[in-house]
């Protein structure tokens, strides 16, 4: 009774005020306790080591549904860890991975309004540890666009000059001095396309008559001398695919009919070695052939050629495969057949002493990893962008 009288005796506004102060005190004491506690973690941005592991793989994504947003993902094919992304830009083809500087280069196209506006083509220089762009060199807005190959751009063997294939549809090559960070000039390569490095200051291009054009650069990267070879195949009878692979001083190419054309590039002029077939008579009867986007891979030290195979007619030369056949390049014998876990359009092999075979399909954003000696499927790494094209090892 007294208490209630007392309460009744306290003015209403005072009671409210007291409650408010109490609330503030409680909040402050609680809040102080919270803020007084030191944060357990410091927020940072991760960085990569200057030297990458041999099983770290670049997975290039042309982002076909939104082509101005090309990317490359760095993935550890052992631990399945996703290590980082390069946002490379429009019409992305592939990376250049120099070994003499902790940088990565990529040619790309940009419009001022994403899909419209003024077009600018650049070579972007990325830092290998931060994966951030650190420089760019503007090149003529003429880059060849469409399906990626490993020959849409290249570094000369001395790693000084980056070469970028153009098609407007006039064919030419842009030369960029990566040391001086400047565009050197454009070399006309009429009738010939793509860039395959063949020496410290030399590259070759495929020509429409089945020959190769060799271009020698001078010390500044200018066109010093061009030489055209004799045709080494008939593009109308059995076209040779440009989706080749380099093994030491040779470039290996495979025709639609799975004939191997080895081009020796040790000398100034390319030398064409005798062709040989990937197929036995039975293979041919069963319609086996190579196909895909990146259908060849090599292990240089072991002298092994890996080919992505499927069954189909001559018009299926770009189709995916679910078999990888392994050849000893010294004997030209097939030493192994590997059955993949699914279709693939790209294959790659790491170059270390304990290599991995990698495969990806453009329609499935996943990298699959195999033991190249046993063919055993080791692991799959999923959620890798949208449309995987080229796989690159470090």
């Amino acid at each position: 009774m007294l208490a209630s009288e007392k309460r009744r005796g306290t003015p209403f506004f005072l009671r409210i005020a007291t409650m408010r102060w109490l609330a503030v005190l409680v909040f402050l004491s609680f809040g102080t306790a919270c803020f007084a506690q030191e944060l357990p973690q410091r927020m940072t941005t991760a960085a990569l080591p200057a030297e990458y592991e041999p099983h770290w793989v670049w997975v290039d994504d042309i982002a076909f549904g939104h082509m101005m947003d090309g990317r490359a993902y760095l993935v550890d094919a052992d631990s399945e860890k996703f290590l980082g992304t390069l946002s490379t830009g429009g019409f992305f083809k592939k990376l250049e991975l120099p070994t003499n500087t902790p940088e990565i280069y990529a040619a790309a196209t940009f419009y001022t309004r994403v899909n419209r506006g003024e077009r600018t083509d650049v070579v972007t220089v990325f830092d290998r540890q931060t994966l951030s762009p650190v420089d760019e060199i503007v090149i003529p807005p003429k880059r060849m666009t469409g399906a990626p190959t490993i020959a849409h751009s290249a570094l000369t063997d001395d790693q000084r000059f980056m070469l970028v294939a153009n098609l407007t549809p006039a064919q030419s090559v842009s030369v960029v001095d990566m040391q001086e960070r400047k565009f050197v000039g454009e070399i006309a390569t009429p009738g010939c396309t793509l860039v395959f490095p063949t020496g410290p200051r030399r590259f070759m291009s495929f020509c429409g008559d089945g020959s190769l054009l060799t271009v020698n650069l001078d010390a500044e990267g200018n066109d010093a001398r061009q030489a055209r070879s004799e045709p080494f195949f008939d593009p109308w009878q059995d076209p040779v695919s440009v989706k080749g692979v380099r093994v030491n001083d040779q470039w290996l190419f495979v025709s639609f009919d799975s004939q191997v054309h080895a081009v020796d590039i040790a000398g100034e002029e390319p030398r064409f070695l005798p062709t040989w077939s990937l197929l036995t008579d039975k293979d041919r009867r069963d319609s086996w052939r190579t196909g895909g986007i990146q259908m060849l891979a090599v292990h240089e030290k072991r002298g092994l050629l890996f080919t992505l195979m499927h069954r189909g007619g001559i018009e299926t030369h770009k189709d995916p495969g679910n078999r990888v056949w392994v050849y000893d390049l010294a004997t030209r014998e097939r030493i192994r057949k590997i059955k993949l876990k699914g279709a693939a359009t790209s294959i790659q092999v790491t170059q270390d002493d304990d290599p991995l075979l990698l495969a990806a399909f453009i329609g499935m954003p996943k990298l699959t990893v195999y033991d190249p000696d046993t063919g055993e499927h080791l692991r799959s790494i999923s959620q890798l962008g949208s449309t995987i094209t080229i796989l690159q090892t470090n």
Binding site: G90, N115, R119, P235, P239, V242, E315, P320, I362, G363
Partner: protein
Amino acid sequence: MKLLDRWVETRTRRVAQRTSRRHFVGRLGVLLLGGSVLPLLPVARATAAPDDGLPDEATLPGKTGDPTNCNYWRHCAIDGFPCACCGGSETACPPGTELSAVTWIGTCRNPGNNKDYIISYNDCCGKSPCGRCMCFRAEGDKPVYLPPKSNDINWCQGTNSNIYHCTISVVIGEAGSG
């Protein structure tokens, strides 16, 4: 992802139609733009298009008269997204896209009269890829060192923006009629 799923699904269905299950890997997934088949030349004459004498497409068997379907007779060498699925038609670019004048031609047989017709595959450009009804029929395709015969090349060229959106399939004339 849905677009990609649909693309993969469409391609997979096509594989199933055209190959046995043993040949599972089939033809899925090469991303290229446009298409090609003999004879192929880069031309800028898609505006010609005399449709005279063509059988009524509504009477053609199966889906060969449906320009939104990969089996549409004019798509025999296409590799990309048919514009009929993208707000255009087999002869019209979708609203707001730009018709590429530089193109290439193929030869397709009309199932209504079994005559061969020259088809011009023009790309429509300037917007992100349409992403619908992905159709890949690369018969006669050659590597990029023969550009007019290669569908590995983006043929959005000579346009204000070089970004590929979809492809139309226009009848230029009867094959062999000059």
